[in-house]
């Protein structure tokens, strides 16, 4: 019997069942979508758009091409071997004069100063003197400021005339373009970012390992103690979790500094001499200790929620089959807690990669993270392009970590509660 000849099933009011079903499904889909739409909208506005904005800023390069448009046009076809001719200087004079009137040379001069120190004052001084300057501009400008007589000034302008640039990414990985257009390392005394990236990753791993080491027994205790005691323990875990991050961080300063509680105690007990107090803060130790403490609950809670679902009878069964305590733990209990370890681990690791207040306060010089550099370029140097490039690389690292984690353990195995 072919399908077409079959009498279609209908509902009571004569609509084919298939259509009716489809309608019902569509209606519930629309309902579901409407219910999540506020969250979706929020995520798009507060999360997706800023990320794209950041990615865009890390390559956006409008300053030279828009504000020196005449100069850039005049520079077309320039061989880069000798100083450009008068027509380029005249175009530059025109561009700067216009920028000075519109008072918008600031971003241009900052942009060029990233590529060549000294450009900021060169541009502002030249723009101020243009009023009294007369052609030929080539002589006049070089006389007013040597920088215009240097070949690399013009090479920089020519190179940065594109609306997109990779300079920020190059700078973020301690590279730059040589005059020949090749990617080369920056001089050794300017190298900073790559080592900070590695340090951030490495210290985050250490912190994750420490939270696991400390958190695992606590989570185990939480599940095995009688309710009355485990509740108290849970409060002890949660109280610091509810306490302000800044309070916890500054408390560690009070405890660990060289005139602090711990050092005083050690000196009082005669363990160390007064002159040989330990430096435990404003260095790597400070960052690791404070961050391990702060992130501990993020390890304990997922572990706890996984361990609670493991029936105690499993361990009893293993023991009754003759397993020694450690073997039973290793072969039965531990494998069952791996989803909790994975959840806690990835949570702590990703959170700690992005931490910046705590390293800034207790990290001193050796305990700083790459995030502190991002904050610096956001707030102080105002090199937002470089900040965006570093942040994009960090985002990329986190995504790679997540994908690797998914490959090795599987996100579907993660349990947060």
């Amino acid at each position: 019997m072919s399908e077409s000849s079959a009498i279609p099933l209908t509902t009571a009011d004569g609509v084919p069942l298939k259509t009716s079903l489809r309608r019902a499904v569509r209606r519930s889909r629309v309902k579901a979508f409407l219910l999540v739409s506020p969250l979706l909208l929020f995520l798009v506005v507060a999360f997706v758009m800023p990320i794209f904005d950041m990615l865009w800023r890390s390559v956006d390069n409008p300053e030279v091409s828009t504000q020196l448009s005449r100069t850039v046009t005049a520079l077309e076809g320039w061989d880069g071997e000798s100083l450009p001719g008068e027509e380029v200087f005249a175009a530059l004079a025109e561009d700067l004069r216009e920028g000075q009137e519109a008072r918008n040379l600031g971003l241009l001069s900052s942009r060029l100063n990233y590529e060549k120190s000294g450009m900021r004052s060169t541009i502002s001084r030249t723009a101020r003197r243009l009023r009294t300057m007369e052609p030929p501009y080539k002589e006049a400008m070089i006389a007013a400021n040597d920088t215009w007589g240097e070949l690399d000034t013009w090479q920089v302008i020519q190179r940065e005339a594109t609306p997109w640039t990779l300079s920020y990414y190059l700078a973020a990985v301690d590279r730059q373009l040589s005059p020949e257009g090749e990617i080369v390392k920056v001089p050794e005394h300017l190298e900073i970012h790559v080592s900070l990236f590695w340090r951030t990753l490495w210290m985050s791993l250490v912190i994750t390992a420490l939270t696991l080491l400390l958190g695992y027994p606590i989570a185990f205790l939480l599940t095995s103690l009688p309710l009355r005691h485990s509740n108290l323990l849970m409060i002890l875990v949660l109280l610091p979790f509810w306490t302000s991050l800044l309070v916890r961080t500054t408390t560690w300063i009070a405890i660990l500094q060289s005139q602090g509680v711990l050092n005083d105690l050690l000196v009082g007990l005669g363990v160390i001499a007064d002159e040989a107090r330990w430096q435990m803060i404003h260095n790597k130790t400070g960052t690791i200790v404070a961050m391990t403490h702060i992130l501990l609950p993020f390890m304990i809670l997922p572990l706890y929620s996984v361990m609670k679902t493991i029936p105690p009878s499993y361990m009893r069964a293993a023991r009754s089959l003759g397993g020694r305590p450690f073997t039973c733990f290793r072969r039965v209990y531990f494998p069952l807690t791996i989803p909790g370890i994975a959840a806690g681990g990835i949570l702590v690791f990703i959170l700690s990669i992005g931490y910046y207040i705590t390293p800034a306060l207790v990290g001193g010089q050796s305990g700083r993270f790459i995030t502190n550099t991002i904050a610096y370029h956001m707030q102080t140097s105002l090199n937002w392009g470089l900040a965006a490039a570093i942040a994009s690389i960090l985002l990329f690292v986190v995504v790679v970590c997540y994908l690797a984690f998914n490959r090795l353990i599987g996100v579907d195995k993660v349990k947060l509660g």
Binding site: R103, G106, S117, R120, E188, Q259, G364, T373, T380, S381
Partner: protein, 374 residues
């Protein structure tokens, strides 16, 4: 009050009313007209904001009924101004910032150009503002209110009475003056001091720093104390580190150290040798000039600047105010010897070169960070 007379006289040409109400406070009138506005004023916080509160804000609020809200964001003022301007919603009305930042903000069009003789009060003797303010105090978009100084201070209890440090050389002399040093985690000031301690003359410091050789020399000198340095980032840290005896020396803003000395009775001493002084003052975000015009006139007049010096040891940026500097408001001690501009303190002072730092701050900061990470 000289201030009211001045004000009325100044606007006589522009405001027809003025002749009729000469001697009557125009401020009173204008505040009636705009009845009690709220001014969002951005400053540095701490003892400095307190001195502004006492010297400018409180009398102004009392006179006009305006409400002034202090926002402690000057540390990131440039970033804030740029972000607000890009977002098209400038909420700050007046910002206290450094002249170097003001230069950048001005070039970006974030703040208003100021016609100083038009906007500011004359000195009581009629000297126009352009002559009454100290050198460099009036920028294209900037009007200074104070002269402050970056100095190195020490805790006198940490050295024997007969061997107290006194010069910038001593800060770099670990042998005779052992102990940790707290320095600001920025190349600024540190490079200048390193060169001076290495024997460079005060007026050659910035010429030297423009050369690769000079920068290397400065870093080499800093290398000699690097292991003993704790790097601070917040202005409140150095007095705390000194008080805790975490460090023997700390670079700091002179006002913070003064505050700790008089208000908390800390045994600190300031090394005035090679102090790096600079100015600090007001800028007006673009579009806010009409709103803050009267306040700006008030807050930068001779009396107000002199009043501020009763609360904090920063020198007034007007010559006419300097002579009026009196005693500390709470303790009654003479403020003069605590001012950066007091002649004995000022002998070997370095004026911070804003243009140099505008050009080289990016590169030297990166180099400094790389040096720290080595």
């Amino acid at each position: 009050m000289p201030y009211n007379d001045n004000h009325a006289g100044k606007f006589a040409g522009r405001r027809l009313l003025a002749s009729a109400v000469a001697g009557v406070s125009l401020v009173g009138l204008s505040s009636l007209a705009q009845a009690q506005q709220t001014l969002n004023i951005v400053s540095w916080g701490g003892a400095y904001s307190m001195s502004q509160q006492k010297a400018y804000h409180e009398p102004w609020m009392e006179q006009t009924g305006d409400e002034i809200i202090n926002i402690d964001r000057s540390g990131n003022a440039l970033a804030g101004l740029r972000a607000q301007s890009q977002a098209g919603n400038v909420t700050w009305d007046l910002v206290d910032m450094l002249p170097a930042d003001a230069m950048i903000a001005c070039a970006e069009g974030l703040i208003e150009p100021l016609d100083h003789d038009e906007l500011l009060a004359d000195a009581p003797d009629g000297t126009p503002p352009s002559e009454d303010f100290v050198d460099g105090a009036l920028g294209e978009c900037f009007v200074a209110s104070i002269v402050y100084s970056n100095i190195v201070a020490f805790n006198s209890e940490m050295f024997p009475d007969d061997a107290q440090p006194s010069t910038i050389h001593d800060v770099f002399d670990l042998e005779n003056y052992p102990g940790k040093r707290a320095l600001m985690r920025k190349p600024i000031n540190n490079l200048e001091w390193a060169l001076v301690a290495d024997g460079v003359a005060i007026d050659e410091v910035y010429d030297m720093l423009e050369t690769e050789e000079g920068v290397q020399r400065a870093f080499a000198k800093l290398d000699t104390i690097k292991d003993e340095v704790i790097w601070w980032e917040e202005g409140a840290q150095p007095p705390q580190l000194l008080a805790d005896k975490e460090v023997a020396f700390a670079s700091a803003y002179n006002g913070r150290i003064f505050d700790a000395m008089v208000s908390e009775d800390q045994p600190f001493e300031i090394i005035w040798d090679a102090q790096v002084f600079e100015l600090d003052g007001w800028v007006v975000p673009t579009g806010k000039l009409d709103k803050v015009r009267d306040y700006l006139y008030f807050a930068t007049d001779t009396q107000r600047l002199a009043d501020q010096a009763q609360y904090i040891s920063y020198g007034p940026a007007r010559y006419s105010s300097s002579d009026m500097v009196s005693n500390h408001a709470e303790t009654g001690i003479d403020m003069m010897p605590h001012m950066p501009t007091f002649p004995p303190n000022f002998k070997t002072a370095i004026q911070k070169d804003d243009e140099f730092w505008a050009d080289y701050s990016d590169e030297l900061t990166q180099r400094f960070d790389a040096w720290l990470a080595q």
